[in-house]
């Protein structure tokens, strides 16, 4: 099973759990309810569901809680994930927009480390922040930071991207040094997929793949375009693809979806997610020629 956990922008902390189906016109349905495709976990779910549907995989299972930053998801979401992974065989687990809480995270990791087998662990957004702040980054298989977040991972003193020290620059040209530094201080997962104008796929602190084509510059401004890369990569890892190939494929497909949507900086992520099936098809065809 592919399990995706995060939050949606509602001030009701109630847990939403169920399979996420990708339907016509990019509409995502969970338990017969439509999920608005906003940036954040909803975009992750939309992209993962699109990829699972394309590859005829069972739809991802989702555990989400409403939270607008007031910690209404609190311990509930972490405990919900703990209970679920103990009762179900989760092959791939993505932890996403959870309110960073070091104690809750440590409790969850203690449970996950006792599972046999341990799921492939992926973190993005707040879950990546708390994994690093808790000193548990190396328990993860994959992090998917953007350049700003990479600088945070590279700064051994920072507990949140807001506290990244100024001397650690966020320039694209310095990505390799930041990646190496993050790994050196045990603040990186084994693999990184760094999202930017060029996407870098890394293993053990070294860049192993670069993806910069097709290039759609305005995607940087569009909220959710990083979440969709994580979603596609998670689905492909769940499918059985190795992590490097899954990240490269996801990066390409995401760029194609952006190109097909013909976006400007005001385009919203729901417009791009609609094109994911076509983008995955294009990437797969090109992939077959290359691989």
């Amino acid at each position: 099973m592919l399990l995706l956990a995060g939050t949606v922008p509602s001030n009701v902390g109630e847990i939403i759990a169920g399979r996420a189906d990708f339907g016509e016109k990019g509409i995502i349905r969970i338990n017969a309810m439509n999920l608005p495709l906003t940036r954040g976990t909803a975009s992750l779910v939309g992209a993962a569901a699109a990829a699972c549907r394309y590859f005829n995989l069972d739809p991802p299972y989702v555990i989400m809680a409403g939270d607008i930053g007031q910690k209404t998801s609190g311990a509930n979401i972490y405990e919900g994930i703990q209970a679920f992974v103990q009762k179900n065989r989760v092959k791939t687990l993505v932890l996403h927009y959870l309110m960073p809480n070091i104690q809750y995270h440590k409790r969850l990791m203690a449970v996950i480390q006792r599972l046999d087998p341990i799921p492939c662990l992926i973190a993005d957004a707040g879950s990546m922040y708390v994994a690093k702040a808790a000193g548990q980054a190396s328990l993860y298989d994959l992090f998917t930071p953007d350049l700003g977040e990479l600088a945070f991972l590279a700064d051994d003193k920072a507990s949140h991207p807001a506290y990244t020290r100024g001397f650690i620059c966020h320039l694209e040209g310095e990505a390799a040094a930041l990646i190496e530094r993050a790994y050196k201080y045990n603040n990186s997962a084994k693999y990184l997929c760094v999202k930017g104008c060029t996407d870098y796929v890394c293993c053990n602190g070294s860049i192993v793949e670069k993806v910069d084509d097709p290039s759609v510059e305005v995607l940087e401004a569009i909220g959710g375009t990083g979440d969709t890369i994580t979603g596609i990569a998670a689905a492909l890892i769940y499918k059985g693809m190795n992590i490097v190939e899954a990240c490269s494929f996801a990066s390409k497909a995401n760029r194609w979806a952006g190109k097909l949507a013909n976006p400007n900086p005001a385009t919203q992520i729901s417009e791009i997610i609609k094109y994911l099936p076509e983008a995955i098809e294009k990437t797969k065809n090109a992939w077959a020629d290359i691989k």
């Binding site: 949606v8 930053g69 993005d124 900086p265 005001a266």
Partner: protein, 182 residues
């Protein structure tokens, strides 16, 4: 105890001793900083020391000598601190460095992990990107489609450190494009 710390710090380093106002959530710290600055106090938002850190939090550093009057100010504003602790050397300040990208008709400003994009012609916020705390999608819902002059800033309506960082980018883009003063 606080008096001892104050005395020790002043005696040994010749510096004024500082304390930290600790809050339940980052948004309360942001609002407390605003209240205290407005009242004329010198305060600063900082990362809490490791032993009281949860992963997404801010504290307000202040001059210990003014603790009582500042605490009263916060209580009167309806935003009292959860706790008050003496400062340690393990605190760091949030990043305030911004980068700007010009897309022609649109301008994007990035602060750390947060980006905001505004249409230059009408000052409308068209996108918010980045971040990892749960209020980011909420802030995007509240702000996108509104102009810089009509929307409430992330410091007013957000709760997390990502909201704080977005506020840094928001203030910078207001400065660059000439939105009204917050």
């Amino acid at each position: 105890m606080l008096k001892d710390i104050l005395k020790k710090k002043v005696d040994s380093k010749g510096e004024e001793a500082r304390g930290l106002f600790v809050f339940q959530e980052a948004g309360q710290a942001i609002r407390a900083e605003k209240t205290l600055k407005k009242a004329g106090f010198k305060v600063r938002l900082m990362a809490p020391p490791p032993h009281i850190r949860t992963g997404c939090d801010l504290v307000v550093a202040f001059d210990l000598i003014e603790q009582t009057v500042m605490t009263r100010e916060l209580e009167e504003s309806g935003n009292p601190p959860l706790n008050i602790v003496p400062v340690s050397d393990e605190t760091t300040s949030p990043l305030e460095l911004c980068r700007v990208k010009d897309f022609g008709g649109y301008l994007m400003v990035r602060a750390a992990n947060m980006k905001i994009t505004v249409e230059k012609g009408n000052l409308k916020i068209v996108n918010i990107s980045g971040g990892g705390c749960p209020d980011v999608p909420y802030l995007a819902d509240r702000m996108i489609g509104k102009t810089l002059n009509e929307c409430e800033g992330p410091a007013q309506i957000g709760f997390s450190l990502c909201a704080y960082t977005l506020n840094v980018a928001y203030e910078e883009i207001r400065h660059l494009l000439g939105g009204a003063e917050a």
